[in-house]
Symmetry: C2
Subunit: 247 residues, 2 copies
């Protein structure tokens, strides 16, 4: 398979970078084609703006998603976005490699999503979730954080890690139709010993070699929602839980 | 009070910008001092890197938070970070004004958090949550989104809006000690009528005039956790719910 690793760490000697380097080696050895978008090395611009567009549907008033669609159709998207899109379309698996900054992605990586997950191609209208434009491809997160694992969970200081990850795994990846594999998480990385780091690298290598055996995460299916994206009332869901949608 | 509005929209004529403009007028009329960081207008750089530091604790290996503390102490932080920090320290209330991009902040605003919430000043070690460095100040989100309100809630297509907001409201704002006021949310903004927009602006104005009457959101208190940030077992929490922290 073709693997794109989108990597965002400002220190090439970091443990996150070591994980990325290991992934390149392990996946290449398995016979996969691997490409890396090292956003810091590329000096990737994460700011979504009018400068991303060589032509405009509306010169006077910028509606970013509208201009994404217009420029996609006219092949006038900025060169760097076009280059990333080509890698994304080539990929069968996308690995996002980053340190957690403030319970989320570093801005340079969030900006890759903002600018590269273009409307019209990756999603559109009701072409979201299991109707999304990148359906057929897989994605996973491989990230590091400073917090220790005991800080995460129900009633624990930072709460459940799943809710921390939902805006990313559901709101970004599942939203465009990617099948989301379970994340690989390295806790407390700035503080752990050399031995513990090697243990994490070994685990990560094993994780990468067993992706096909892992159950993908479950996200909404548009089968369960009507054309206005309201929950269907025809029993697709089962009677146990009434949806409680905002008015 | 001193109000800092941190605003991130790439179209000055947008509804999000209209909300920001309204906030300036309403709050000024009430006698408050208001300053705006219009990140797009400022061409704010959201990328956290070695370039943020005029001096280095470690020249060979970049540990971003370490260098934030070192540069804070030595007054060698990049000028743009220093300028934003001064506004942040001056503020009693910080309003974050933005459109939702992919269930979160646009990258330019995420980068403001990444670069301006400096370690040593805003937080550090166990100086988090109700021990955080910005304790005594308040914050709120004022944001717009394309989705309709019925898409949010338990069992609804995008899930509960609170879990979407948790990485921001808990992971960024509460984490540094800010008291987080309930957000103001404008749904389906690209698609609603002129009348509906005026209604939202009116509501937002009223919301801003009644901040003192609103119950702040509740987040963890370090009173309930030990020095390793594990839940205390001495009954502070009550017997009803056993924490389930990762091992």
């Amino acid at each position: 398979m073709n693997v794109l690793i989108v990597h965002a760490h400002n220190e090439p000697g970091s443990f996150t970078a070591a994980m990325k380097n290991l992934a390149v080696v392990v996946l290449s050895e398995e016979g996969h084609e691997v490409r890396v978008s090292d956003l810091y090395a590329q000096r990737f611009n994460p700011v979504a703006s009018a400068a991303d567009f060589g032509s405009r549907a509306n010169q006077e008033y910028l509606v970013y998603a509208l201009e994404q669609r217009h420029n996609l159709q006219n092949a006038t998207l900025a060169e760097d976005i076009q280059a990333e899109l080509e890698k994304l379309q080539w990929a069968d698996l996308v690995i996002f490699s980053f340190p957690i900054y403030w319970f989320g992605m570093p801005a340079i990586l969030k900006g890759w999503i903002d600018r590269v997950f273009v409307s019209g191609l990756c999603y559109g209208g009701r072409r979201i979730y299991d109707r999304g434009g990148l359906k057929g491809k897989r994605a996973m997160l491989a990230f590091t954080l400073g917090g220790q694992s005991h800080m995460f969970g129900k009633g624990c200081v930072h709460g459940e890690i799943e809710t921390l990850l939902r805006p990313i795994q559901q709101g970004m990846l599942a939203y465009v139709g990617l099948e989301v594999l379970p994340p690989f998480i390295a806790y407390h990385v700035p503080y752990i010993s050399e031995t513990e780091r090697w243990d994490y690298l070994t685990s990560y290598g094993e994780h990468l070699l067993t992706l096909d055996a892992r159950e993908p995460l479950v996200f909404p299916s548009l089968d369960d929602f009507d054309t206005a994206l309201r929950p269907r009332s025809d029993g697709a869901r089962g009677a146990s839980e009434s949806p409680e949608c905002l008015p």
